[in-house]
Each structure stands twice: as C-alpha cells, then as structure tokens.
C-alpha cells in the first residue's frame, strides 16, 4: 500500500480495552455524632452518596461496580478478555468492514475474532463491537494485532492495524519433593508421598479452588489435605483457602502403585512418571486461572539386586524371650539367584536357628518368605541387624542391617506394683 496513505486520517477508529473483572467501589466513611459541630451533616452526606451501603454506611466495601482502571497483570493460565470496538468517526457510511484480532505469541498466532465475516456497512457514529477471550498458555510477550479493513464511499479500500503488547507472567511457583514410605510391613509396597509447595508469586490474593494430583496410569492417589472432623472434612489450611502474595502452601499426596503394577514388577524401579498437578485458582470476583504442571517424575529408591523387607514383626517384645519375624526376600535383579542366609548376632540381637542355610534358587522378580526367630538381651528400642544373603552364583554378599526396630521390655513386674 502506498506509504502516503498511512498519514491519512482513517474513517474508523479502533479502540481496545482489556476486560478484567470490574471492581467494587470502596468508600471512605467519615462520621460524626449528632452533638458534633456538623451534626447530622456527615451522616447525611454519606446516606446521599449512592456508593454507600444503605443502613450500614460505615461498611467500606460497596456494591457499585467500576470498570477496570488499568491493564493490570495477566498471568499464565488466566483468560485474556478484551473489548474491541471499531467506531465510525466520520460522517459517511463505510462499507465492507472486516475486523480481525490475532494474538501473536512467541510460538504461534491465534485468531481470536468471534466472526470473520465482513460487516456490510457501518453508519456514522455506529460501532462494531467484539469481546474476545483467550486462555493464555504461554509466558512472555504477547501481541494483540487488530486489523481493520474497509471500503470508503468513494470505493477506496483502506486498511490499518494496531498492535497491543502485553507480558504474561508466571503466577505460581511449584516445587515438589518425594518421600518414599517405609514399606517393610505391608505387602503393598512402594507408597510414595508427594509434597508440593505452591507459592503465589502474583501481587493479589489467590483463592486455590483446586489443587489435585492427576496420577499416572500406575498409581492411585489419596489427597492428604483434609482432616476428617465429624462428618465434614476440614481443610488442613483452615477456614480461608486463599493464598496471600508470596505465601507458600504445602499440599501432600499419597501415591500407591496399582496392584497390577506393584505385583508384576515386584518393585517399581528407576524413573517413573507419577502424574501431574492440576491447579485451579480464582482471584478478584471470580477471575479464573488454571495450570497444570508437566509430568512429575520420581526416581524410585534403588533396592539393589536383592530386596529384603519385613512382613511380620512385633512392636514390643519381652527381654530375653524369643520372638518371630517374617522376612520377604525379593530378587530384584534380572538373573536367577541361589541364596544362602547367614545370621550374625549383634550386641543386643541374638538369632535362633542355624546360620548359613540354603534358601534355594530364586528367579527374577520372585520372592520368598522366611520365618525367623530371635531374642534380645538388652532392653529398650533395639535395631534388628545382622542378616547376610550370599548369592552363591556370583559369590556376592548382601548385608542387611537396621532392618527394623523393636521395643524390648522387661516382662517382670516391679515389686512395688
């Protein structure tokens, strides 16, 4: 198009306004008593003020809605809404108007216009209105490109564009940490706890409507963010579930592998995908935002080639009295093992039975349970140690110490009681 044309006044004007939620007008109560110099004057002024709450004029938060005063901040996951108005400023009828709104992000260009058909004509002082919505999915610079083309009465085809740039900021900071549960006693092992720290890095309070963990195929998830009290469960965060700016909150989830995965593999090894966090929040008058994290990954604890876990153990035993434990030995390696069990006494733990017995061959992922008997000669909390497994094929010995703890008490009643 001709360069000179740019200087020409356009017949149409394009106006864009971001539609964040309106705000409630707050008034400033200044009161006096009847005996004060202004008498009822201040009270009357406040009652006459349309923005006050009638009957409770000292209540600051009014009901009057005011339009957004500035562009504000826009955060990832929120919906960008904008009013686009094309107004015919001229005194002639303009024909074939086409308004196009595109959002240019760093990676893509989206068309946001509700309609892409041209408006046949626009009379003077009339306007074409469009409200666009877009859920922002990228951080960084966004440019709203509004293009208007139209035909004048004299048949000239004219065109102009406007660019509106804004930054999309990150609303939340999410950190996660995994804890592996001690899985010695239950047969369903490999419970994982996920702690997610979510920080509000915006400048306004944020109501966390939903923070849930969508588990991957392998896991079932239990949310541990409510405390059951009576019939209603109460949030662990108390009455108000909002986050002030820069506040951080910890969410806790318990993940259990689904039985089919747990049993098939025996143990879950290496890196596994746990799932992702789905976060929905709301701010001023229900302005909504939603984000999901990427897939959370967890490194399963390494159990080595042979895993020894406890299936049965008493928590309290009597001093110098034999008690039974049941160990579960799982072959976590890829090869068959031929195992030999040795039991070494420690200062406090004395194993009963023959040390050095053959357990036989154990194929990969197979496990076997062995009952064992032992006694403790020392009172107090005692650690059970001293089990040695030797793979006779590879002549490799695995040591198992501090497998579990038992409380050893004296069974004899003291004379005074």
């Amino acid at each position: 198009m001709d360069v000179n044309q740019a200087k020409q006044e356009h017949l149409l004007a394009l106006k864009v306004m971001r539609l964040t939620k309106p705000t409630l007008f707050t008034n400033m109560p200044v009161t006096c008593e009847d005996r004060d110099l202004p008498g009822d004057l201040f009270g009357r002024l406040m009652r006459e003020d349309p923005s006050t709450i009638k009957g409770a004029e000292t209540l600051m938060l009014g009901e009057m809605l005011t339009l957004p005063q500035n562009f504000g901040n826009i955060f990832l996951g929120e919906t960008f809404s904008s009013y686009i108005s094309v107004h015919n400023d001229s005194n002639q009828v303009v024909k074939d108007i086409l308004v196009k709104a595109d959002l240019q992000t760093s990676s893509q260009r989206l068309n946001l216009s509700a309609s892409n058909s041209a408006v046949a004509e626009l009379k003077p002082e009339c306007c074409i209105d469009d409200v666009i919505h877009h859920e922002v999915k990228e951080i960084g610079t966004h440019i709203l490109v509004c293009a208007v083309s139209y035909t004048t009465q004299s048949g000239d085809k004219l065109y102009f564009r406007k660019f509106f740039k804004f930054q999309v900021l990150k609303p939340l900071d999410v950190k996660t940490k995994f804890y592996n549960a001690e899985s010695d006693l239950s047969s369903v092992t490999d419970e994982v706890f996920l702690e997610a720290q979510i920080q509000n890095i915006t400048t306004s309070p944020m109501f966390m409507e939903k923070v849930s963990l969508e588990p991957s195929l392998m896991y079932n998830v239990t949310e541990l963010n409510t405390v059951a009290s009576g019939k209603e469960s109460e949030s662990t965060f108390g009455k108000m579930s909002y986050l002030q700016p820069m506040d951080t909150r910890q969410y806790l989830y318990c993940l259990k592998p689904k039985p089919e995965f747990a049993e098939k593999a025996g143990v879950i090894k290496g890196v596994t995908v746990i799932g992702k966090l789905d976060i929905v929040w709301k701010t001023n008058l229900g302005e909504r935002g939603r984000l999901q994290t990427s897939q959370l990954q967890r490194m399963a604890p390494g159990y080595g080639d042979v895993r020894l876990s406890l299936e049965l153990i008493p928590d309290t035993v009597n001093l110098e009295e034999p008690f039974d434990i049941t160990c579960k030995i799982t072959n976590c390696s890829e090869r068959t093992m031929d195992l030999l069990l040795e039991m070494c006494n420690t200062r406090s733990v004395h194993w009963c039975g023959v040390s050095g017995r053959q357990l036989g061959k154990l194929s990969p992922s197979a496990s076997l349970s062995i009952p064992l008997k032992l006694l403790s000669s020392v009172q107090g909390l005692q650690s059970i140690s001293g089990l040695r497994l030797t793979d006779t094929f590879l002549k490799r010995t695995y040591e198992y110490d501090d497998i579990a703890q038992v409380c050893v008490v004296c069974p004899y009643l003291s004379p005074e009681s």
Binding site: C32, A56, I139
Partner: protein, 803 residues
Amino acid sequence: MDSSEDAAQRPLTLDIAGVGNEEPEAHAPLEAAAISSQPNTTDVLFPEESIDLDADAFISPQDDSAASGSMMDKLNDQMMESVMISDSPNSEEDDVPIDSLLEQGEDKESLDSKEPEEEKEEEEVKEEKTEAVTEQGTPDASVEPVESSTSLVEKEEAEEKEKDLTKDMVTDTQAAAGTPTPDSPKGQEVKVEVAKATAKEEPIPVCTIFSQGMQPKTLVPDGFQPTLVKSPSFSSGTNETPSKLAPLVCQPSPSLSKFFTDNGTVNPASDFFDSFTTSSSFISVSNPNAESPKAVTPAERQLSSGSSAVPSAEHQDGGTPSAFFSIGPQDSTPKPMAGPAEPAATMTTLQAVFSGSDDPFASALSLSEVDKRYDAWLPSEETRRVLISVATQQVNPVYVERDRLSMPGLKFDNLQGDAVKDLMLRFLGDQAAMKRQVLTANSVEQNFLGLNQLISTKNWRAAVDLTGRLLTAHGQGYGKSGQPTSHTTDSLQLWFVRLALLVKLNLFQNADLEFEPFGNLDQPDLYYEYYPTVYPGRRGSMVPFSMRVLHAELPQYLSKPQESLDRLHSMRSICQKILANLEEGLAEDGSMMTLTQENRQASIQLWRSRLCRVMYSMANCLLMMKDYILAVETYHSIIQYEPQQRVQLLSGIGRIFLQIGDIRTAEKYFQEVEKTCEEKGTGPAQDTSVLMNKAFVYLSQNNYAEAHTCFSGILKIDPKNPVANNNAAVCLLYLGRLKESLGQLESLVQQDPALYLHESVLFNLTTMYELESSRSTQKKQALLEAVACREGDSFNTQCLKLV
C-alpha cells in the same frame, strides 16, 4: 532404608505449562467463540498478511522463557539462531516489513509513548534466571539413579541463553506431539524452569493495551492512569496523594494574613474572632448540636452559655463578642436541632431526660449528665495524675510542662482551589468558567452556620479554609503550632471538622501534619479538668469521640495500617472498659457516681454504638490490609451489636469472599442473608439485597447475562436504585453492548444528576467514552459542564479523566 530414602528426596522445581487443549470443557463457550477457522477470504482482504509478524520468524526477547510443551519443538528447530534478538520495544515491529511499519507510523507512535516503562521492564526480564532442569531416564535405566542435572543459566545475552538451552534440551516427544499423553512413562522429559527474578522485578502491568492510537495527539491521556479514582480501593495504594499535596501545603497567603492581622478591627468577622480570645469566663456551649435545645430555658442559658443570651443579635455585625461564636438562637439555624420532629435518636433521649423539668437547675444538671456521657474518656495514668493535681489545685496549669501539652496550629492555611473551575478554564474557556458559581469561605457567614452551609453544598475546600480562619482567630493559626494555647469545646470541634474534611478530600498528608501536635489525643489540656475556671465541674474529654476515630483511621490511608490498628485497639479497650464500668453500676469513668436508670441506659446505648463504630473501623482497616480472615471475623462480630445491620454485614462479608475468589463461601453467606430476609418478611429492601447478591455471584461465574437480569430485576422493584443501574450498565459492556451501556448511563446522569454524578458512575462513563469514540474529550467536557452546575469544590475531577 534411610539412605535409600535420601536418594529419592530431591527437591524438584517444576515448570508450569499452560493447560493444554485437552481441557476444552471448562472453556467450551469461550473457546468455541474464539477459535474459529479463518476463511481464506481474509487473505484477500488483508494483503499484508503474508508479511506480518510471522509465527516462525518472530521471536520475542522472552522467547526463552517459554515453558509450554509446544514451545519445545520450536526451540529445537534451531530457528533461534536465525532470529535477531533485541530487547528494544520496537523489535516486534522490526519484523514487520518497512512499508507496513510506515503505514503504521501513527499507531506505533501511540504505542511508543508508553514504551519507556515497558523498556525498563524488559531490561529486567532480560536478567531473568532461566533454570533448565533436564532429566533423562527411562524405566529400563540401570540401577544407578540418574541424578537430575540442574543447570542454572543466568546470562545477559539472550543468544547465549538459547544456545545453552538447546544444549541442555532433548526432544520432548510428548510435547512435540502437541497433545501430551499424560501417562506415557517413556521418552525423555525436558523441563525448563523460568524463574523470574521476582525480587526486584516489579510486576508493573504493561499498559499498552489501552491505546488511544487513532487519536491525534491532543490533551487526551493516552492510557488509563493507574490511580484515577480516589477511593482507597484495595488494589491501589494511597501514594498518589503526596504528589498532589505539594502545592497545597503553602505559606499563608499574604492577603489572608493581612486580613487577620492588620485591619482586624474593621472587618466584621474579626469581631467574631475576638470572641474566642476575649472572654474566657463564659462557658461556651455554643455548638448547636451539643446543646439540648428544647430544654434550654433562658435561665439556664445564662447559667451555662452566655452565647445565647442575646438571641436577637445579628452575628455578622453584632457588638456582643460572646454572641459570635455561636450560631445563635436555635430557631435561626437552618436545620434546627430543637423541634419536636427532630428524628435523631439521641435527641429523643435528651427530650426524655428533660421532659417536665421546669427547674432550670435541674435541666442544667441533666445537660451536664449528657455532657458527661458524651465526654467520658479514660485518660492514661500519667495524664490522669496531672489532671487530678490540677483539679485539687496542687498545680497551676501554667506550670505543666510544655511538652506535655498539645499546641496545634495550622500547617497550611488555604486550599482555595476549585479543580472543576480549573478544568473549565482549560477546556471550556474563560466564559464558561465564569459561570461556575460555588460558595467560598468569603461568601458565607464567618461562623458555624456558614461552615455547615459550605459542607452541605460540598464545598469542602472552602469549608477547610473557613475552619482555618476560625482557628486563626482562636490563636491556633498558621505557624502557631508549638505555642501554648488553650482549647475550648468549639476549637476542638473546629479542628475535628477541619481534619475530617481534609480526610474526605483525600488530603491525608495534610491531615496527618495537623494532627501531629495533638499527639495521641491524651494531653492533659485536652480534658475539661484542665480548665477548672473555664469549665467548672465539667469532666471528660474535650476531643470529640469522632475525632479520635478519625485520628485512629488516618494512618491506614498513609500506608501505616498497623498504626491504625494499634490506635483502634486501644480505643476499643477504653470503650469496653467504660461499658464495663456502666454495667457494674459505676459512672463511665469508673467513679462512684450514681446514675439514674435512664441515664445509665442511654449511656450504655451510646457507648455500645461507639464501640461498634470502632469495630467497623477495625474491620475496614483489616480489609484494606487484605487480612481477610480477621476482617470477616470483625465484621461478623459487629452483627451482635447492630443486629439491624445483619443483612448488610452478611452481604458485605459475602462480597469479601467474592473478591478473594471464594465463590462457594460467598454463596453460603448470601444464603444466610436470604434466610434473614425471609425471617424479616418480604419487602423491597430485602428483595433488593437478595437480588444484588445473586447478581454478584453470577458476575463471579462470568455469567454477565444473568447478572444483568438480576440487576434489572432490582430496577423493577426500585427503579431509582443507582447501584443497580450502574451495575447493569457495566454488565452490558461485558456483554459487548457498549452503545446500550453508554446510553443507559448517559440518560441516568442526565435525568437524575443528584444520584449519578458520582465519581464511580462518571468514571465508568468516561471509560466507555474512551472506548467508544475518538471524540471522548468533547463528551467528557459535556460531563464537566454538568458537574460544574451541581457539584462543589470538593468534586474529584480525576474521574472525568480529562487530564
């Protein structure tokens, strides 16, 4: 076992990716509207489209901050090297071919006018830390755990950053697929974490969206200003006042100081001022509202107030000094406090007290009962000791240490401005401005009558001027701060009015400055006991309770809410103590005085309402501090004192929850409102509250159509409801019906300016004008004319957005 746990305990910083397209259900209505395929015909109509900001060629400086999955393949396409990275705000346009740029010369300019701010921000963004956490591992990986490698990249040069990123990056197969398959454990996962250097980066909004680009460069502002409305709304601080203040804190104007010093004897007003200083023997109970008019018998007047002794005297030029400080005979006041029709509750109690008492002494006594009730206050221990020693004549007040006294004085002496007139001069010319007629301090009687006249006509600036004059006459004028002075009931009332008006005018800094000499309002000279000769037998605080409230509230408008809370808490405990004293059968101040049952009840009622006022202030302050938990608790606790405000308070709490975004809890409160309304029985007021709450819930659910229906429903019950009218218009705008919305607001302002020339309505209206047309200035000027006809000098012209 512990060791194996430790290995797995690694904090992991996550990236957050925008929710992908896999959740269309939540936004179905919106997205369906927004994402529609683009017919080919548009390309014909937009010949430049081919040379537009190309998705592939266009890389913004923030490109590296991309975190979404779909960005990954882009980053891996090596297209970055081919792109020039620049932080210049015009870099975007650089990608636009020259000719289209030139064509856009005008528009670009308008954007550029707002760029400086943005530029700064981009500088900061450049420094943002990019943390790329790359993890690699498959389920079949070897036994050794693959430690996550974390590379922290902090670079000035974007190019370097990208290089680094690509190095660390491995193709994310999932992301590349565009539709992430959430549960696939295979493949490599790339995580890019962009932690903005939030500490120093102020999240200033980039305001370019409000471009006025098409407009020729006129006086019209080129964007919304962040602080256009005066309300201390929760989002904006009150920091804008200081800048405004500078010109206001001025030296006394020569004319005025001359007026007071040189020819004071000539000016009739000076006679009036004399009354402050000459006679100190009469008890000045001249505040019309402090008096119990009905019971004032002539005898009692002589006893208690010399001011009313000459009922027929004309105050402007009368010769009796004592007559001037008062409004004079009660029947001459514009709104007589006497009259049997006086609706105020306190007045009726006063009447009850005085009914049937013919004995002037008895009525004088009852008056002092009322005084005692209103003036009661508990001074601090130290002040109390001074007061006792003065009362027992151990110490002459003259010898009380000066630093223990309040020595107030004006800190600036005239505000005399009329922003409306200034704007008229600027936009409408001299002639139009000449038509603007407002009352000034000079055009009214130089007494309380004139003061009230100025206040009720909303000429608060002039009223502040007048209080300044009256205080100057009392010897507390400009520059008198720090000089010993004596207070009277009236001088403190004047101070209260002055400071209250300053606060009403948002001149918080000025109010703070003038409040300063009063300290914590506990100096001995602020109590009647300090003036045994002037106020024989009178006890309690000369400082009106309302002034204490004002004093306590003030710091919150100056970004010191904690100080406000401290003051309010100590006020509350005094109120509670006084109530406790009354309930124990003692007098307000805890002395062993016998009160009649009526007096006790009246006093309890008064102090409960005062306690309630303090609680309101506390709740409001907490709300400003965004301490919503405590604010809600406090508002809730007010209900027990003011059960008749239950509906309003519960609705208010509901709105607080809506502001937070907690719609469910808000609805619970609104249900409680409905229940209360049902109990009260149906009436228009109840229906209005219920509908209003419903509308706000719809609004919070983005359902503007239903919200509009509710607001319209209120208008069927109460067609003149300004809130519903305004809110309905706001909803129309969100529904894309700008013209209708404008039409509605415009007709409201024209039909009923008394109700709709309110700054919130005008702000909405001017915002819509700006959105509607390039000729918004003319329309705003028309509004200015409407304002000029009706509003006083205290009108906040910012809402017109003319400058």
